[in-house]
């Protein structure tokens, strides 16, 4: 049992070790500033930033675009299992998935006609 999971464990170990070492070394070897200057705290605004930017309201179109992106991006995640098993599923898988994509195309045409895509 363990043997067929061993490669996965080694791979997981590496996947864990590399970011952990990066995080550790970036703290261990970093050279600390002697004193926290005010400039370090305020945001970088091409050299002329007065102070902390007051919380600003963003228009809703940013949020809308983000949501649309998520909807159509997650669609690709569903493609992976299909791609792996495409040969095994054969025509059934293909038709099944064509229907799934069709639904999303309907959604795409809807938001396109509603004008949510142009800014």
């Amino acid at each position: 049992m363990l043997s067929d999971w061993l490669p996965f464990l080694i791979y997981g170990l590496f996947a864990l070790a590399i970011p952990a070492s990066m995080i550790y070394f970036s703290f261990a070897l970093a050279t600390r500033p002697r004193r926290r200057t005010r400039a370090r705290v305020i945001p970088f605004e091409s050299g002329v930033s007065q102070g902390q930017m007051r919380p600003q309201r963003f228009t809703v179109s940013f949020y809308l675009t983000a949501m649309l992106f998520i909807v159509f991006d997650i669609e690709i995640v569903f493609l992976y299992p299909l791609a792996v098993q495409l040969h095994a599923l054969g025509w059934f898988g293909f038709v099944e998935f064509a229907f799934f994509v069709l639904i999303l195309v309907v959604a795409y045409v809807y938001i396109w006609r509603k004008g949510a895509l142009n800014w």
């Binding site: 605004e45 091409s46 050299g47 002329v48 600003q56 309201r57 963003f58 228009t59 800014w119």
Partner: protein, 434 residues
């Protein structure tokens, strides 16, 4: 040469500022260079004020734009300049004419030969000195090479900002060839200080013409490469066409000159309409486009590069036939006598001493000379009191006028287009802030 001016001559009767400058003008009414936030947005919280500040990768130097954004759309803009104000004019008043020639190159540090030329032409106009043929043609050749150099820097950096990163490396490859020519003829890549009042500082070295011919032969093929790279690139066309519109009347009212004016449909080029140096003996075409957007300014500069290569070729042909001719006037009051003459003639020694210690004297008077620099009409207003030092020098900077059009061009555009607009106006901050 076409002398009828198609789009020009329509002088409109312009009402007083307050209501729109004239019907159809897109210049902001209250202050021509500041785009005000529309009243319905003015004191709501939707407007986000952003500093397109002095240290920004896409502002080509230390220009600062205070941009009011409604989401991604630019609703307010005001430019703040002066972050590179160097006090050229004050310094030039303290130097003799001879030393002051070094300063203008640093004003517009991308089109530096043209700047030096405009000051030297102003001195020569006051002095009324006769410049030999070879010097005039060499100046024309170097200024045309500098125009290509300047447009290459424009193309490289503005394409880089719009994502065509490889254009930067192509343009700077050609630019290095031009800088080799400058180094060959004047000893230094930039700020060559090669023009004197009366001609050139030195004769042209022997190996210059084969190199210049080699550059002039294979430059057109590089220009075609750029066109194939960019002209049918959908992203480039999408980002530049229809962006930053400037009508011909707005361009004239805002004092635009050069490629920005020619891209707005006004057929005006000082090299053809007010020839200086020897431009009337050279055959070239002036590209004019009527779109008035970022794409047409880019097309004007691309065609101008091709025309400049043609002019450079004609200059090299002509200069090769002028092998032994004098390259500087021989008016001893202004021009240093040759070294070997100092050992023999007493007058040369005295002239040499007077010029070197006190500087030559330019007769009293005021003069305004204008030439076609890569960015537009670069003028130089010189007042002399007859002494060895200029009394007042003022440079008319094309970039200074170009930046006044940012408010007009950036109406109802997105912030991403602002980068394309500032890039297309091709303003050099040293030129703007003097």
């Amino acid at each position: 040469m076409s002398t009828t001016l198609r789009h020009v001559g329509r002088t409109r009767r312009w009402p007083v500022v307050g209501d729109a400058i004239y019907d159809g003008s897109r210049i902001p009414a209250r202050v021509p260079t500041v785009l005000d936030v529309p009243p319905h947005l003015r004191d709501t919280d939707d407007v986000l004020t952003v500093n397109f500040g002095p240290n920004h990768p896409s502002t080509h130097g230390v220009l600062r734009l205070i941009v009011d954004l409604d989401g991604e759309e630019v609703v307010g803009l005001s430019a703040v300049v002066g972050y590179l104000h160097t006090g050229f004019e004050k310094n030039m008043e303290q130097k003799t004419w001879w030393k002051a020639i070094t300063y203008p190159e640093r004003i517009d540090y991308v089109g530096y030969q043209n700047n030096e030329l405009v000051f030297v032409l102003a001195i020569e106009k006051l002095l009324d000195i006769e410049v030999p043929e070879k010097a005039t043609w060499t100046r024309m050749l170097l200024c045309e090479l500098n125009r290509i150099h300047s447009h290459l820097v424009f193309l490289g950096t503005s394409a880089l900002e719009l994502g065509a990163i490889s254009m930067f490396w192509y343009c700077f490859r050609e630019r290095e060839n031009i800088l080799d020519l400058f180094e060959l003829v004047a000893g230094q890549r930039m700020h060559t200080r090669y023009f004197q009042a009366g001609g050139l500082a030195e004769d042209i070295p022997i190996g210059f013409f084969p190199e210049a011919r080699k550059f002039v032969e294979n430059m057109p093929s590089s220009l075609d490469d750029y066109l194939t790279l960019l002209d049918r690139n959908k992203i480039w066309l999408e980002r530049t066409q229809g962006v930053g519109l400037l009508s011909s009347d707005d361009a004239i009212a805002l004092g635009q000159t050069g490629p920005v004016l020619r891209a707005s449909g006004v057929d005006w080029d000082l090299r053809r309409d007010q020839p200086y140096l020897a431009y009337e003996q050279v055959d070239f075409r002036v590209p004019v486009y009527t779109g008035g957007d970022v794409y047409d300014r880019y097309r004007v500069r691309m065609d101008e590069m091709a025309e400049s290569v043609k002019i450079a070729r004609q200059c090299v042909d002509r200069l090769e036939r002028m092998e032994g001719e004098p390259w500087i006037a021989d008016d001893r009051k202004v021009v240093l006598p040759p070294r070997e003459e100092l050992h023999t003639s007493m007058e040369s020694l005295i002239h040499h001493f007077k010029i070197v210690t006190e500087g030559y004297r330019v007769p009293a008077g005021e003069v305004y000379v204008a030439i076609e620099s890569p960015r537009g009409e670069s003028g130089c207003y010189v007042v002399s009191d007859g002494g060895p030092r200029p009394w007042r020098v003022h440079f008319r900077a094309p970039s200074f006028a170009a930046l006044q059009a940012t408010a007009t061009c950036s109406q109802n555009t997105l912030i991403a287009d602002l980068i394309a607009i500032v890039g297309s106006l091709d303003a050099v901050m040293g030129d703007t802030d003097r």
